[in-house]
Amino acid sequence: MTNLRTRILPVLTVILAILIIWHVFVVILNAPFVRDQAARAGETVSFAQVVEQTFNQERPVLPAPHQIIAELWDTTIDKPITSKRSLVYHAWVTLSATLAGFGMGTALGILLAIGIVHNQAMDKSLMPWVIASQTIPIIAVAPMIIVVLNAIGISGLMPKALISTYLSFFPVVVGMVKGLRSPDAILIDLMRTYYASKTQTFWKLRMPAAMPYLFTSLKVAIAISLVGAIVGELPTGAVAGLGARLLSGSYYGQTVQIWAALFMAAGLAAILVALIGVAHSAVLKRMGERA
């Protein structure tokens, strides 16, 4: 009960407040168009009529939540999944690039971290560049990567996945380096008294100690690789994927479509992060952590 009152109630209140503000803004932002239409038709509209019409425009400045939900329902449930107008199809295109990039980025990040922890020269020469690489807005490079890879005949999933890889390897490297170095000197000394080899120390001490750090980084990495996949779809000229939905929506002024794609992306991000969270607690449980 206390959980309900201290955790869920405040969140619900804030969400309710956001919804109310949203509805107010729907009226404020869409009203000029309604008034304009009425003035052109030579009619006068009462305030109640204005409010009613602002919630049901075809191309509103700000769509009302129920319009977005209707669009989401229409494009996910009512359309067959194979259809190009189905949002599930587009979400799957983005999701596959995200997962491929996330997988490659995680593998690369873990390998780099192992190298950095075990080789001092790699640590000193690579680490500053790993950090510097993230201050570069990779998004600027994204159209380049896609067009160049297209030119040599690689298209579709791979270019987008590469962008996601680049974005997601960084948090994994930083988290893993921190995690692999987290065992206390006492514990490493203990391994030495056991005459453990470097490999044994790695698998029995460093790797388990790094797990909490790894999963925290993975949560960041999966969210950012979704961003990479979406942005990667922008320069290809709107073929398929959530980014393409955003782009075509902005070309044709289909605001409801943009918002629906945004909500889909948000939902996807939430599900992916939650899945990592579940894996995290499962691994910690197997390692014998008590909740």
């Binding site: 201290t6 955790r7 405040p10 969140v11 619900l12 209140t13 804030v14 969400i15 400045v61 001092q120 020269a121 000193k124 020469s125 690579l126 680490m127 500053p128 560049w129 510097a132 993230q134 201050t135 570069i136 807005p137 990779i138 998004i139 600027a140 490079v141 159209p143 380049m144 067009v147 160049v148 030119a151 040599i152 170095r181 949560k219 969210a223 979704l226 961003v227 979406i230 942005v231 922008l234 320069p235 959530l242 980014g243 955003l246 782009l247 929506g249 902005s250 002024g253 605001t255 943009i258 918002w259 794609a261 945004l262 992306a265 948000a266 991000a269 939430a270 992060v273």
Partner: protein, 288 residues
């Protein structure tokens, strides 16, 4: 095997050997040690450039796929006016304005909701959630609302930077321990005095964490927003049009400018952090 590849290979091996030697050696003089610490990553960077140049020349890679660094450099020198105009539009107008507004707003809201535990409980999970969302997707909507020019980019940057700042500041403000707060109470310090003398200083590491995250986010937001519509100037605009015209060296020159701007921006924030949070263990050094 041609000579360029041999040069690349020897340079790489030599640089690697020097780096190994520099890392293993311990200099007694602190100045020399610092110089060595700086030389190792620098040498690595130079090696990358040399290998890039030699591979491009050695394999005769067409410049449309990957131009050599020397070619990008000449292009960069020859088109400074265009690059400066783009830099002004994207960085000085969109990024800086949006960054300051977004971070400022996040900070002020965090201080305001700090007085109400109820609001804190409600806003923190939502702020954390929004921080994980692909917020750049908001760009087309902002372009529709605020037009093609820089205000729409500022709006995107503000929204992207607001939530990390909010979440980190709220966390930072609760970083001071209850013991220290009790001490302030025994001094009969007012809420403002406690805030300025105790809780803000304790919050600086968190706030600077957000400022650093936001410095890269802001640049990304501004450039992506330009993909959705822009006047005929700006880094994102230049990149997308020059890619279309196959002027790849110009694109790389623009990327170099963006990289430099991003790194300098981040570096400035990091330097300020060092000056402000000089007391923090991670700045003072000590154990790694």
């Amino acid at each position: 095997m041609n000579s360029y590849l041999i040069v690349a290979l020897t340079f790489w091996l030599a640089a690697w050997a020097i780096n190994e030697w520099l890392v293993r050696r311990h200099f007694t003089e602190p100045g020399l040690q610092r110089a060595a610490n700086l030389a190792v990553p620098l040498l690595f960077g130079v090696t990358l450039l040399v290998i890039w140049e030699c591979v491009v020349r050695g394999f005769d890679i067409p410049s449309i796929l990957l131009p050599a660094p020397s070619m990008i450099w000449t292009r960069l020198i020859h088109s400074l006016p265009i690059l400066w105009a783009d830099f002004q539009q994207t960085f000085l107008k969109s990024v800086i304005t949006g960054y300051v507004a977004g971070c400022g707003l996040g900070f002020v809201v965090a201080v305001l909701i700090d007085r109400s535990p109820f609001l804190k409980q409600g806003l923190l999970p939502i702020g954390n959630f929004v921080s994980a969302l692909p917020v750049v997707g908001i760009a087309p909507i902002m372009v529709m609302w605020f037009g093609f020019d820089w205000p729409s980019k500022v709006a995107v940057v503000v929204i992207m930077t607001f939530f990390p700042m909010l979440v980190n500041t709220v966390q930072g403000l609760s970083a001071a321990s209850s013991m220290e707060r009790d001490l302030m109470r025994t001094y009969a310090a007012s809420w403002w005095q406690t805030l300025i003398k105790l809780r803000l200083p304790a919050a600086w590491p968190f706030i600077f964490n957000a400022l650093k995250i936001n410095s890269t986010l802001a640049l990304i937001g501004a450039i992506v927003a330009e993909f959705f519509g822009t006047p005929i100037v700006g880094m994102g605009f230049r990149i997308s049009t020059e890619v279309g015209r196959s002027n790849v060296d110009m694109v790389w020159a623009e990327i170099a400018v963006a990289a430099l701007a991003g790194s300098v921006f981040y570096g400035l924030v990091a330097l300020t952090e060092k000056a402000v949070t000089f007391w923090h263990p991670s700045v003072r050094g000590g154990q790694r």
